[in-house]
């Protein structure tokens, strides 16, 4: 039997013999990835999102505020509740039960319409925000702005209320002191035209804002565009959509493969302490064979771990490879090889098991955090996104995401694979050079 095969076989046997460690090696990443996956959106389209919890207190009770409330209730991304008063809403935000609370003041509909034409004081819509949930309150602010503009415009440029607002506007133009004559004439013409048009619509029985719906061609006043939401990923035959578990399983399984690889690197140092190293070095085998044996067994175990974790995610959470299968397999192999060489490198640098453990924790935390294994790297600040391109695990995650839920082709896997293999070569080479080969 070739010594290299013997070395690999021995490590695989040791791995399988330790049943408890084997189960933990697989169960822990699956459990954590499942948890993170559920946080990052889970299975899009299969599980109803919980929505951002927001409260609305309507002190106006006008047609405008009713329209705003109706639109907010129709938003899938929001979970709207109606507390009894403003104090209760504010308290719920303070206690973290709500991401935000909106208070629509009394006379909002009237004052907002006047405010649109610059007349009278603008109403204050109060938004209570949880400082710890700024992304969610930002979403609420955006949706609220959209629906208020829509409702107010609908009210101002529609029917009797619309005519009242235009007439009030015309009256303020006539009363305005010091307005240049040319400006006064232009505004009078514009609002007079609107008033006449509304009167005509009223007479003909057609709603001016009725054409505000999607595809409406009858004219009227509304938002000047419609949103059409489409997934940017290639859809497979079975119409799979974004799956948050794809990212979390890639990240978490890679993290645990890195940890396991460090353990295998440590195993060499423990072999040295236990005298096994003397026996291994006494045999007529090269240093390259010794390191290659450990690297190969570690990579095989890592690849097996990745395969089991991905398999679980596919069966239980319906994660799918929407991109290239060969690219996906290559990415996994490259990650396993990189982890194995990193383990040897850390062991070579650490020199003793104790020092290596401390160093390993630091290195793995940096790699998984900056690599986007915990949270996607697009959430990082711009400078960190730029800086993290030197982190091999960042490329691994790009490869995993690209081949799974992004549905990219084989070409998208080439760069991540090359970066990982190059990093493996560097780590392996340095390990070979820095390893303390002589027996104690």
């Amino acid at each position: 039997m070739h010594p290299l095969l013997a070395l690999i076989g021995k490590d695989l046997r040791l791995h399988v013999h330790n049943r408890r460690a084997l189960i933990l090696t697989l169960a822990v990443p699956i459990a954590i990835a499942s948890f993170f996956g559920s946080l990052f959106g889970g299975q899009s389209g299969r599980v109803k999102p919980s929505g951002v919890p927001v409260a609305v207190v309507d002190l106006d009770h006008s047609a405008v505020s009713a329209q705003v409330l109706s639109n907010l209730l129709a938003e899938a991304g929001l979970r709207v509740s109606f507390p009894t008063n403003e104090a209760a809403a504010q308290d719920a935000v303070r206690q973290g039960q709500l991401a935000a609370a909106v208070v629509i003041p009394a006379n909002f509909g009237r004052d907002a319409g006047r405010g649109l034409f610059g007349g009278g004081a603008k109403p204050d819509v109060v938004l209570y925000e949880d400082p710890g949930r700024q992304m969610e309150s930002g979403l609420v602010r955006g949706l609220l702005t959209q629906h208020i503009i829509s409702a107010v415009a609908r009210n101002v440029f529609n029917g009797a209320s619309g005519r009242q607002f235009t007439r009030e506007g015309l009256a303020r133009i006539e009363e305005a002191q010091g307005m240049p004559a040319g400006d006064r004439e232009l505004l009078r013409t514009m609002l007079g035209g609107v008033d006449r048009w509304l009167a005509r619509v009223e007479t003909n029985g057609t709603s001016a804002a009725g054409a505000g719906g999607p595809g409406g061609g009858g004219g009227g006043f509304s938002l000047p565009f419609n949103f059409r939401e489409e997934p940017a990923v290639r859809e497979a035959v079975h119409q799979f959509q974004y799956n948050g578990y794809a990212h979390s399983f890639g990240g978490m399984s890679m993290q645990f493969v890195l940890m396991a690889a460090i353990d295998w690197g440590l195993a060499i140092l423990l072999e040295r302490q236990r005298g096994l190293w003397r026996r291994l070095r006494a045999a007529p085998i090269s240093r390259g064979t010794l390191l290659a044996g450990r690297a190969a067994s570690s990579a095989l175990i890592g690849f097996g771990t990745l395969a089991v974790c991905w398999g679980f995610s596919m069966v239980v959470f319906h994660v799918r490879v929407l991109g290239s299968w060969p690219g996906f397999v290559l990415c996994n192999l490259a990650v396993a090889v990189f982890a194995a060489s990193l383990g040897l490198f850390i062991a070579a640098v650490g020199r003793t098991p104790e020092a290596t453990r401390g160093l390993a924790i630091f290195v793995i935390l940096i790699l998984v955090m900056l690599g986007g294994a915990w949270i996607p790297s697009f959430i990082f600040p711009e400078w960190l996104q730029q800086a993290s391109v030197v982190i091999p695990t960042r490329w691994a995650m790009e490869g995993f995401d690209g081949m799974t839920w992004r549905g990219l082709g084989f070409a998208a896997a080439v760069k991540p694979v090359l970066v990982l293999l190059f990093s493996s070569l560097v780590c392996g080479g340095l390990a070979w050079r820095w390893f303390r080969w002589e027996a104690d």
Partner: protein
């Protein structure tokens, strides 16, 4: 005498400022069993490590059958079988798997691994435990398996680094039976230990080292002869003897040498019947109270003591 199969010439090894081996030279003939004897820290294990190619000497060379070891993959390494002082076994692999793995490092075929594994286990009396992992073994059984692993590739030279450390007398006897069998099969054995009785039982020649230097290299009989055919007599006193007594005692009839160690006086005597009455009478005249008196034939310990002035088990 067979030609030397193992030659050590001017070995030197330092670790920083520590000189582990200063100057060690000796040779071992094919089929010979040589004891490398010395106290802890004498440089035995470092010497053995250089012999096995585990560490590179700063100076000197090791010749296996007249040829120096060149590199990690030198085929001459196949002629060596190392039994490390530590139990170099994988505790979670079975005894048979341990043997198969270490044998495979020497590129043995599957059939060879199977047959030789069975033979090695048979030799050390562990055939019935082939499928059990060493973590279920007693200390003595692990030591025997540790020995068996080194035999799988059928080496001509066995390098044993204190192979009986920490085992009970019964297991030690079992290991010695194994080693005597191997010696009878013509294996060359270099046996490192600080147990004198082991060297006396197993080896025909002894190399005594201390502080990284060879103090003596001779057949056992020759070393004993150096100490003479006389006997050793130890007198235990109630109090340490004054230093000026030594010269006076040396002049007594039948006394060859005298050494003092704490409250003991150690005599090398030509004839017990002449020396003992003279010594006891002299001590009585000078007021010394004798608490114990014993005598023995000279052994390696006395040789070591006379060479180094230290007891073998002193650290």
């Amino acid at each position: 005498m067979n030609p030397p199969i193992l030659e050590v010439r001017g070995l030197r090894k330092t670790f920083g400022s520590l000189v582990a081996v200063e100057e060690v030279s000796f040779s071992v003939a094919a089929g010979e069993c040589v004891g490398l004897l010395g106290p802890n820290g004498a440089g035995k294990t470092t010497t053995l490590s250089m012999l096995a190619g585990l560490i590179r000497p700063d100076a000197g060379e090791v010749l296996i059958a007249g040829r120096a070891l060149t590199g990690d993959t030198d085929p001459a390494k196949r002629r060596l079988g190392l039994v490390p002082q530590d139990l170099a076994l994988y505790e979670d692999l079975s005894a048979a798997e341990n043997l198969a793995f270490f044998g495979a490092l020497y590129s043995l075929s599957r059939a060879e691994l199977r047959d030789r594994g069975a033979a090695a286990l048979d030799l050390v009396g562990l055939s019935g435990r082939a499928k059990d992992p060493p973590r279920t073994f007693s200390g003595g059984m692990k030591r025997r398996l540790n020995l068996a692993v080194a035999l799988l590739h059928d080496p001509e030279i066995l390098l044993l680094d204190e192979p009986t450390v920490g085992v009970d007398p019964q297991s030690r006897n079992a290991i010695f039976d194994n080693l005597e069998t191997l010696r009878a099969r013509g294996k060359t054995i270099l046996y490192t230990t600080h147990y004198l009785e082991e060297v006396e039982r197993l080896c025909s020649r002894v190399v005594i080292v201390d502080h990284g230097r060879v103090l003596a290299d001779a057949p056992l009989a020759e070393l004993r002869a150096r100490e003479g055919e006389g006997q050793r007599c130890t007198v235990e006193l109630a109090a340490p003897a004054p230093a000026d007594w030594i010269a006076a005692l040396r002049g007594l009839p039948g006394v060859r040498r005298v050494a003092a160690r704490e409250s003991q006086l150690i005599f090398e005597v030509a004839d017990l019947t002449v020396a003992v009455p003279a010594v006891t009478a002299w001590l009585a005249q000078h007021g010394a109270q004798i608490t114990q008196l014993s005598s023995a034939r000279p052994n390696l310990e006395s040789v070591f003591l006379s060479l180094t002035g230290r007891n073998l088990r002193d650290d």
